[in-house]
């Protein structure tokens, strides 16, 4: 009996240490390296070059510029975004992105980071939706990507934890799940075609598996610099790109269907540390 306990002691200690891994305070590349060491995932480890470049991630320029934009009085109302509530109180950004999408009582809707940012820029700051700072959503030079990258980076190392307390949050997550597995179009593709198994590749690119949270956290860690595109990209941009590759119609940025899908995919990474900003191929 005692012998048995002695045998499993190292296991108990080992798993205790693993569970207690404190990702908060780690740099994005340290988080990724820890996950690679832990899982041996071919998706996570597919680009040693990208891992090497992460300390000098061009996305850090956007974090800095986004920080300045965030606190600067802007728009027709000349106010900063410090009064914007991303779910944890006005101006509270630490860990806020890791808990999006969530239900916002002031609009009676579930919103992701992009939709919430549009909401605050149009209501608080008084921008029109057609004004460039709101309308131009993509590209490293856009105010919108700078703000998103700054806000998201305040959740680096924090475990994804989108709330499911409000019935709308659960409903959107569940509908997003249905959409994830819903096949259609000339190629019969669903999201699951590419993201339901481990170690699968499209040509040379290893694909992340939605069923492996430690792998999936990197897949959903946006904004991320895309080395192949020389731009920092958002969750919405990734979603649009996937649907384009699937030959599905274009999704509208910030639309309810996009938020439902992002609710599901964030829930699938629950408990794993966000890697922000990330650098992808």
């Amino acid at each position: 009996m005692l012998k048995k306990i002695l045998y499993i002691m190292p296991l108990l200690i080992g798993s205790g240490v693993a569970n207690a891994t404190d990702y908060e305070g780690m740099a994005p590349e340290e988080i990724l390296q820890t996950l690679i060491d832990k899982t041996g995932s071919s998706y996570l480890g597919q680009s040693p070059q990208n891992l090497q470049m992460m300390p000098d991630n061009p996305a850090y320029w956007l974090v800095d510029e986004g920080e300045a934009l965030f606190s600067e009085p802007r728009g027709p109302k000349q106010v900063s975004l410090e009064e914007c509530d991303f779910g944890k109180g006005p101006g509270v950004l630490e860990g806020a992105y890791a808990e999006l999408p969530r239900y916002f009582a002031d609009v009676g809707k579930v919103m992701d980071l992009e939709a919430r940012l549009v909401h605050c820029m149009t209501t608080l700051q008084g921008f029109d939706k057609q004004d460039a700072p709101v309308k131009t959503r993509h590209g490293s030079s856009s105010d919108f990507m700078k703000l998103q990258t700054y806000i998201a980076a305040q959740s680096n190392g924090i475990a994804w934890n989108p709330p499911m307390d409000h019935p709308m949050e659960k409903a959107m997550r569940d509908a997003g799940e249905v959409m994830f597995y819903r096949r259609s179009g000339p190629m019969d593709f669903s999201c699951q075609t590419c993201h339901g198994d481990t170690g699968k590749r499209i040509r040379a690119s290893v694909l992340p598996n939605v069923n492996e949270p430690e792998e999936w956290t990197k897949a959903i860690s946006w904004p991320s610099e895309r080395a192949g595109q020389l731009n920092v990209r958002s969750s919405q941009h990734r979603l649009r790109g996937c649907l384009w590759q699937m030959r599905h119609p274009q999704i509208v940025g910030g639309s309810d269907a996009s938020i439902a899908l992002i609710s599901y995919w964030t829930d699938a990474a629950r408990g794993q540390p966000a890697i922000l900003p990330d650098l992808k191929r």
């Binding site: 409903a171 249905v178 819903r182 259609s184 000339p186 599905h248 119609p249 274009q250 639309s255 439902a260």
Partner: protein, 229 residues
């Protein structure tokens, strides 16, 4: 008076449709009852009625993007939430549907030009819509088959591994009438053999023509093709 009666009819019809769809009528007239719908109902609502997708864009096969989100019977049967396998009854139904869809080329299965087949197997852009549209109407050999995205074929190019490796396909199998027919059918509609497979219905869905399939078949079977070297 006439207007009123038409309006009444429209309201009655709409209400009936909403009832049939299981949507609360009062909610359907105002804000949708997101919490009251099943996940499937909400997904359908979000896809078609929430302005979330650009549904009116023209597509290469004719018609508009909306039809690409409307599921046919096979797609519905093969969409399993959570990714589990379809049950046996569904699998049998899917195999039968697929079997019925297969049209063999008139005059028998012929092998075309493996060099054209090589390019078609590599090409993976056809039928994309949205922000960067494919126009394959002027492409010499058509839209391409996307084969390399998922299959390793010849070893001179890197293929994916969502599907099985097909390296040495013809060399290993010969080119009897039976294997030619089987291969043609798998390309045309793979669900006849592998119900709810990830592989697209290349023939049945009109991705490639018979002639294009004959070139890809040559790429698989021709002894001179790099696939068999």
């Amino acid at each position: 008076m006439l207007n009123t009666s038409i309006k009444k009819t429209i309201v009655a019809t709409t209400s009936l449709l909403c009832l049939l769809a299981g949507v609360n009528v009062a909610q359907a007239e105002g804000k949708p009852d997101i919490v009251g719908m099943s996940p499937q109902q909400l997904a359908e609502h979000l896809i078609f009625n929430s302005g979330s997708f650009k549904l009116d864009q023209a597509v290469q096969e004719g018609g508009v993007t909306r039809q690409r989100l409307e599921q046919d019977e096979l797609q519905t049967a093969c969409s399993v939430v959570g990714g589990g396998k379809a049950d046996t009854n569904t699998a049998v139904k899917v195999m039968n549907m697929a079997r019925d869809s297969i049209k063999l080329p008139e005059g028998g299965i012929k092998l075309g030009d493996w060099k054209i087949g090589r390019e078609l197997a590599w090409s993976g852009f056809g039928f994309r819509v949205g922000h960067n549209n494919d126009d394959h109407s002027t492409a010499a050999n058509g839209p391409g088959g996307n084969c390399y995205n998922c299959h390793q074929l010849a070893t001179d190019r890197t293929g994916g591994n969502i599907g099985p490796a097909l390296t040495g396909y013809g060399k290993a199998r010969g080119s009897s009438e039976a294997i030619l027919k089987y291969t043609y059918e798998v390309i045309y509609n793979p669900h006849a053999y592998f119900p709810c497979t990830h592989m697209p219905r290349i023939g049945a869905n009109g991705i490639l023509t018979n002639e294009q399939i004959s070139h890809i078949m040559a790429y698989l079977f021709d002894p001179e093709s790099p696939v068999n070297k």
